[in-house]
């Protein structure tokens, strides 16, 4: 091969086309930038886990559960540590006297010097430690802002009113997701009992924090005592556990982001492939001349491969540079998901990964159309035609290599051949479906072509399937981004809509729990005073499962062959008793026994999921420890609970006549007509019985909205990459097909068409393009969301069409705007341009 000539010809031939080539490479720049930014961000995140793990835990080890730590364990733990602290956590209503408002909060009573690593971030700074010195409260900054509270204002928790000593700006290791539902309030641990919020049946979480001697191997220590902790239902978390948990969580986040970046890169590569095809087709004459003059097929191929490859390398390098800069944006986008501030530095491994992935994917996708250069016959010098270049059979080898490289990249993410294979197939299926739909749509345009309509419409539509058209590529690239966005909007709407439906009509939207027996009458009276119905008023008894099927819980926990799940075994049962089954439950097996008669066996009713979790069947014996008293029961019936209704639901139901004398509290379910009544009712309840908690659907909706908005914001940010790349593919394909459009435009004008008419023809073409792209994406999103809603999330599928319509119009408008902007230059060209090109 004459390499000197090949290089010379490559440089000379690209002189007039460099701007064209640079444009289509910009999609590669974007795809590589996304990949590098994400991987760089992840490398920094993981690196910081190592340094931040201790401060994320605040201690060397935490030990906790929903009961105080047993005495038997305390001695063992005391010997281990040099310092320890304790925390009591429970959910409760709080009352703000100065605002006459109430708020559901997460109350934490802290004793000791915790945190041992890291700090509470408070305003003033001194409040971080001084709140433990007396009757003071630290209140979440979000709640302070919401209610316009100042330091010095009061907050009533249970029986005690605390002055607010400081704003809690952040607590290390905590994400602020869900904080609008139950913001955190810290008080001294010694003040908790005075609030009288802890009653029999209260949901309390107990945690101890330990600072341990550096020489102790905590993980070994924990391993030796693992079974004992399990028997006592105690959770032990070391710094290593924390690190692993975080690594796993961030690994999942990283994998998700990488897959989105990969899809963006693939879209960009599809754009490159289609642009290279147009470029090669525009070079057919030049290649034929060179072949005629004696250049070999392989040499001609190398000329153009060199052009594309060099520009590809340059684009990848630029993409890497941009990606290294924009990684700074990612921590801002993901703020709600990160437990600590990430220190961003350049990551060499991310750069190397981005470089190779960018080069390989660009080269492979460009090779497909480039291969056909070898087969361009010199005969084309004698016979000029617009026929596109025939595809080379070697392209199937290229396709195989592309699939292999995608699998390889996914394997590097997942570490699993099976998962990478499934993901590769999934991505391929998605693109094939998109191409298939795009092909079907263009076929429909051709088949149902409006033959009797105006010239402008016919000319514009026929441009969609002209030789060298990019219709399918554009439908795929713009359609994919549209599809992702639409899917997000639909799912967001469905989830929120289903929750809102829970409060529609006569559905209850208010639950009050923690009502003591002697408060019940007054509670009903307060409810009725607000003209609110008492939809449900049920007792709740707290108990533990002591034994079943002939073995104690301890024996079951030690049995390695057991099939029962730990969540079912360790669950602290909150049980009710009633004469009749709830109308929302569906009886699956057995007969519901509502009343216990002396001498009978006590027949309990279990939820199907709980029964499966415990691996028990009809007639099996269950022995309960009801706060010291042992009760033997049998499985009398199995039910399926409808979780969509906002009512109290019980996995375990007793008949009446068994538990009436047991320590218990009550739950009241009602329906509030509006937000004002909800707020007034809540205030009244808190004043009368501060130990009770009021949950209203409105608060749940706010929290859900908060969480879903955060998640969808991240995904939309990434989907934005796809749309941006799709638009670059659109611009580049318009730019590359400019000569063909110039010739057409000039010919039309020579034949008598005005500029305005040509604009209208182009407008028809781009409107159709935008419409088909948006339609494809939306169609797939609707089908995808239906499948997800029905089979995964089990939601009612009620679409809200307005956001979908908004996306539809936006995509069309954007496509038309970009297309017409590009057309300006084409339409203004003089007919002489065409004559000179002949």
């Amino acid at each position: 091969m004459n390499w000197q000539l090949i290089v010379k010809t490559a440089i000379r031939d690209s002189r007039k086309d460099r701007s064209k080539l640079l444009l289509f490479m910009s999609s590669i720049i974007l795809g590589v930038a996304a990949l590098v930014a994400i991987n760089s961000f992840n490398d920094n995140l993981v690196r910081d886990i190592e340094t931040q793990s201790k401060s994320l835990l605040g201690a060397d080890m935490t030990v906790g559960g929903n009961k105080p730590i047993p005495e038997s364990l305390i001695a063992s733990l005391d010997s281990l540590s040099s310092e320890q602290s304790s925390e009591v956590e429970l959910f409760s209503m709080s009352y703000l006297p100065s605002k006459q408002k109430s708020q559901f909060v997460k109350l934490k009573g802290l004793t000791g010097k915790f945190p041992y690593y890291g700090n509470f971030l408070t305003e003033p700074t001194s409040a971080a430690t001084s709140f433990k010195t007396g009757k003071y409260a630290l209140v979440d900054d979000g709640m302070m802002l919401q209610y316009n509270l100042e330091v010095g204002d009061s907050i009533k928790l249970g029986e005690i009113t605390f002055p607010i000593h400081g704003r809690l700006m952040s607590v290390f290791g905590n994400l602020d997701m869900g904080s609008s539902f139950a913001p955190s309030v810290y008080i001294s641990g010694e003040q908790v009992s005075a609030t009288k919020l802890i009653q029999p049946g209260s949901l309390v979480n107990y945690k101890n924090y330990y600072k341990v001697d550096m020489s102790t191997d905590l993980d070994e220590w924990k391993k030796e005592r693992r079974q004992r902790f399990r028997n006592e239902s105690i959770r032990v978390t070391t710094v290593e556990d924390q690190r692993e948990n975080l690594q796993e969580a961030f690994s999942n986040l990283n994998n998700f982001l990488n897959i989105v970046a990969l899809i963006s890169l693939l879209l960009a590569c599809i754009g490159v492939a289609s642009s290279v095809l147009i470029y090669v087709n525009s070079k057919v004459q030049s290649i034929a001349i060179l072949r005629c003059l004696g250049m070999k097929g392989a040499e001609a191929f190398m000329v153009y491969f060199l052009q594309i490859f060099v520009l590809g390398v340059l684009s990848v390098i630029v993409g890497i540079a941009i990606g290294s800069i924009i990684q700074i944006i990612l921590p801002i986008v993901l703020k709600g998901f990160l437990p600590y501030e990430v220190n961003m530095t350049i990551s060499s491994s991310a750069i190397i990964k981005g470089f190779f992935m960018g080069i390989i994917s660009t080269t492979l996708f460009a090779l497909g159309p480039l291969l056909s250069v070898r087969n361009i016959t010199p005969l084309k010098t004698l016979r000029i035609s617009d026929d596109p270049v025939k595809a080379d059979p070697l392209r199937w080898l290229i396709y195989g290599l592309i699939i292999l490289s995608i699998s390889g990249f996914l394997y590097s993410l997942t570490g699993s051949l099976l998962n990478s294979g499934i993901l590769t197939l999934g991505i391929l299926a998605a693109f094939l479906i998109l191409f298939g739909v795009a092909k079907l749509v263009t076929w429909c345009v051709r088949k149902y072509f409006p033959k009797n309509s105006s010239f402008v419409l016919r000319q514009g539509l026929s441009n969609l399937y002209r030789p060298n058209n990019q219709t399918q590529t554009l439908i795929v690239s713009i359609g994919l981004g549209t599809g992702i966005l639409t899917l997000l909007f639909i799912l967001q709407g469905l989830i929120l809509g289903n929750v809102e439906d829970m409060g529609a009509g006569n559905q209850p939207n208010m639950i009050v729990f923690g009502i003591e027996a002697d408060q019940n009458e007054e509670m009903e009276s307060i409810t009725k005073s607000f003209d609110m119905p008492v939809i449900q008023n049920v007792p709740v008894v707290t108990m533990e499962l002591a034994a079943w099927q002939g073995k104690t819980k301890k024996e079951w926990m030690q049995d390695t062959t057991r099939t029962a799940s730990r969540w079912a075994i360790n669950r602290e049962a909150r049980v009710s008793y009633r004469e009749e089954m709830s109308e929302d439950d569906e009886l699956i097996e057995g007969t519901y026994t509502g009343v216990y008669n002396d001498g009978d066996s006590i027949m309990v009713s279990l939820d199907q999921r709980y029964a499966d979790g415990l691996d028990v069947e009809m007639g099996d014996e269950l022995i309960w420890n009801v706060q010291g008293a042992i009760i033997k029961t049998y499985v009398g019936s199995i039910r399926k609970i409808n979780f969509r209704k906002m009512k109290s639901r019980f996995f375990i139901l007793f008949p009446v006549g068994v538990l009436e004398a047991a320590p218990q509290f009550r739950i009241l379910v009602s329906k509030s007509p509006n937000k004002q009544v909800t707020a007034d009712f809540r205030n009244a309840v808190v004043k009368f019985m501060p130990n009770a908690s009021v949950i209203d659907l409105g608060s749940i909706l706010v929290t859900l909205n908060d969480i879903i908005t955060k998640v969808s914001y991240v995904i939309k940010f990434m989907a934005g990459f796809s749309i941006l790349i799709g638009l670059i593919v659109l611009i580049s394909s318009l730019f590359l097909s400019k000569f063909q459009r110039i010739r057409e435009s000039v010919l039309l004008r020579t034949l008598g068409a005005s500029e305005k008419k040509i604009y209208r023809i182009n407008a028809v073409e781009y409107t159709a393009l935008g419409l088909l792209s948006a339609l494809t994406g939306i169609l797939l999103a609707v089908v995808g969301s239906y499948l997800l809603a029905t089979f995964v999330f089990e939601l009612d599928f009620n679409l809200s069409w307005w956001p979908i319509l908004g996306i539809f119009v936006f995509i069309i408008a954007l496509t038309v705007a970009i297309g017409l902007w590009n057309s300006r230059d084409v339409i203004k060209r003089s007919p002489l341009e065409v004559l000179r090109n002949v």
Binding site: S14, Q285, S286, A288, I289, L293, G294, A298, T381
Partner: protein, 231 residues
């Protein structure tokens, strides 16, 4: 013989029937001969030229170009022969649009690996065709006649043994056409090249040594003009 065509057929297979474009063509060309192939549109002139130049393959028959049976050669072997022994002039000029006039003329020499001296020779050739001051102009900056003159210079740059010209003045006005014609014959005389011209211009054809007339894919006459004139 520099060119031999024996029992040449070129048949295109359509959906329902076959189209015979060349039907049993036989002729030979001696070295240094100037031959024109004439005929009405659709007679197969350009197809025959393509086959003789190794740009296409016949359906049957043998073509020998510079002693090589070109239909049996690979594409790369044919390209090699074209580069070393053949020159081309096209009706549509077929200059590389991204190369200057000088670079276009240099290409055949560079393809041979003769970069040294190629520039000087190309400049000389451009001067010879009257474009000495235009060597750094792109094809889009040249008129039709000027482009064809660059094409002429390129065709002779690799000192071909045989030159194929397909309607060399077909896209030119009378004046430019005459200039190009004269240059073509002058250069041909200087270089002692065999010249095969495909044309429908009888005036041009009559300036050659021999005329082969094609009609309906067949040779209807093969006449030596100079010999006849001498007679």
């Amino acid at each position: 013989m520099i060119l031999e065509a024996k029992e040449i057929f070129k048949i295109y297979k359509g959906v329902n029937k076959e189209l015979t474009v060349l039907d049993n063509i036989n002729f030979q060309v001696t070295k240094g001969e100037i031959l024109s192939i004439v005929g009405p549109s659709g007679s197969g002139k350009t197809t025959l030229l393509g086959l003789c130049a190794g740009l296409d393959n016949q359906s049957s028959g043998i073509i020998k170009l510079a002693g090589e049976p070109i239909s049996q050669l690979t594409e790369n072997e044919k390209a090699e022969i074209r580069n070393r022994k053949v020159g081309f002039i096209f009706q549509n000029f077929q200059l590389l649009p991204t190369l200057t006039a000088l670079e276009n003329v240099m290409i055949p020499m560079e393809l041979q690996g003769r970069s040294i001296g190629a520039r000087a020779k190309a400049i000389e050739l451009l001067k010879r065709v009257g474009l000495g001051g235009r060597h750094d102009h792109y094809p889009s900056q040249l008129s039709g006649g000027e482009k064809q003159r660059v094409s002429l210079a390129r065709a002779f740059s690799n000192d071909p043994e045989i030159l194929f010209a397909d309607e060399p003045t077909g896209n030119l006005d009378e004046e430019s056409g005459l200039i190009v014609e004269n240059l073509l014959f002058d250069l041909n005389r200087e270089k002692q090249t065999t010249l095969v011209i495909v044309t429908h211009d009888l005036e041009l054809a009559n300036k050659t040594d021999r005329i082969i007339k094609l009609k309906g894919g067949k040779i209807v006459s093969d006449e030596c003009i100079k010999t006849a004139a001498n007679l």
